[in-house]
Subunit: 206 residues, 2 copies
Amino acid sequence: MRPLTERQNQILEFIRDYISKNLKPPTVREICEEFKFKSTNAVYSILKSLEKKGYIEKVIGKSRNIIPKDIMFKEENDIKEIPLISKFNSKNPLLMFTNLIGTVKIDAKMFDHPSSFAVIVPDDGMQKAGIFKNDIAIIKQDTKIENGDIVFAVTGNNAFIRYFKSEHGKIYLVPSARGYETLSFNEDDKNLWIGGKVSLIIRKIS
Amino acid sequence: MRPLTERQNQILEFIRDYISKNLKPPTVREICEEFKFKSTNAVYSILKSLEKKGYIEKVIGKSRNIIPKDIMFKEENDIKEIPLISKFNSKNPLLMFTNLIGTVKIDAKMFDHPSSFAVIVPDDGMQKAGIFKNDIAIIKQDTKIENGDIVFAVTGNNAFIRYFKSEHGKIYLVPSARGYETLSFNEDDKNLWIGGKVSLIIRKIS
DNA sequence: TTGATTTTTGAACAAATGTTCAGTATATTA
DNA sequence: TAATATACTGAACATTTGTTCAAAAATCAA
């Protein structure tokens, strides 16, 4: 890759900066103004050089069509933003999305499930499984749940993280720690909502 | 905030999606094409509704001027990138930064210590403390370490995550699980390097 | 020195794009 | 029932914007 001249570099820098601030590439005229050029062709010819040297690409026949190559090849969606939910109700589980208390950002390399949410672990019922009260648990929705999976479940306004067990038309929420009871429900119990599978745990230590 | 109609929602979704894929907002005509409208005004009037309801903003006199409000207020630089280290040597601890195997991105709201690194937990010696083999542990360097803290330590080429205990000129690395031994060192042992305090645990579950 | 690259001006064209006007139809709300 | 919001079509206008032509001066390598 041939090196850039100072001017070319300035302009490429400006383009990158503009994109990160405005979420879209600048127009030729906007660059022109920034650098106080008298003619758009001052910019245009520098863009040509940048293109020839391979630092940018252009989409023909479109406006705001400058694409810096490094942005182009940047992995997409490498950060996943996951809503952190506080209050639940098993009868209107979807209402929970009105109880956002923030978002948790996760490296998409570690976690990239399309529909998911985060909760704060409500109790120490899964202590032996290494899940502690106040950990952040990230829940995958729309995933097949099998016996032995750790799930996030809501009954009424109470939320649990427990082992899932389904047997003879009954669903059991089984804790891993002593001092917590196994809860049992009928399979069609309208008062039980299984939010999804726990698939990531984040714990802050002091 | 007034709720959106289905059409309005479809179009807002498309705009968001387009931005995340193309790094710039779509034009009225691009939206028009996507939805197979015969007139750009079909889009335009829906954009007006979205604007009136407060879901988007427009920059007057510019092209590609739709700005979804949630993107507009997105904070910048709230992600911390932490190097993930694989091999260690207690004699040349700084050399470890040549053994990057990647980076881990963390929400700065959860973790924002300036000098830190990430490792993969090497064994189950801290199982009872809820730290399992293959978890990702994030280590704070340059932090005062006190008895009872969980630390990352290296002797020779072996890495440990253990409770730290200092007593009568001796340093002990104490496991929380049975089947693992407490290691002891002299305070000035050149063959022991305490990398820092474990301050975040991330665990992926299947 | 000579030719290529770079940087800039100035003017203009053509395509892309935001916007508006006029009108139809349906559903929702007061 | 009337008024309002919604969801379109069709055509046109005005601005923004990518691009091109012509030309001059400066830098830099061969």
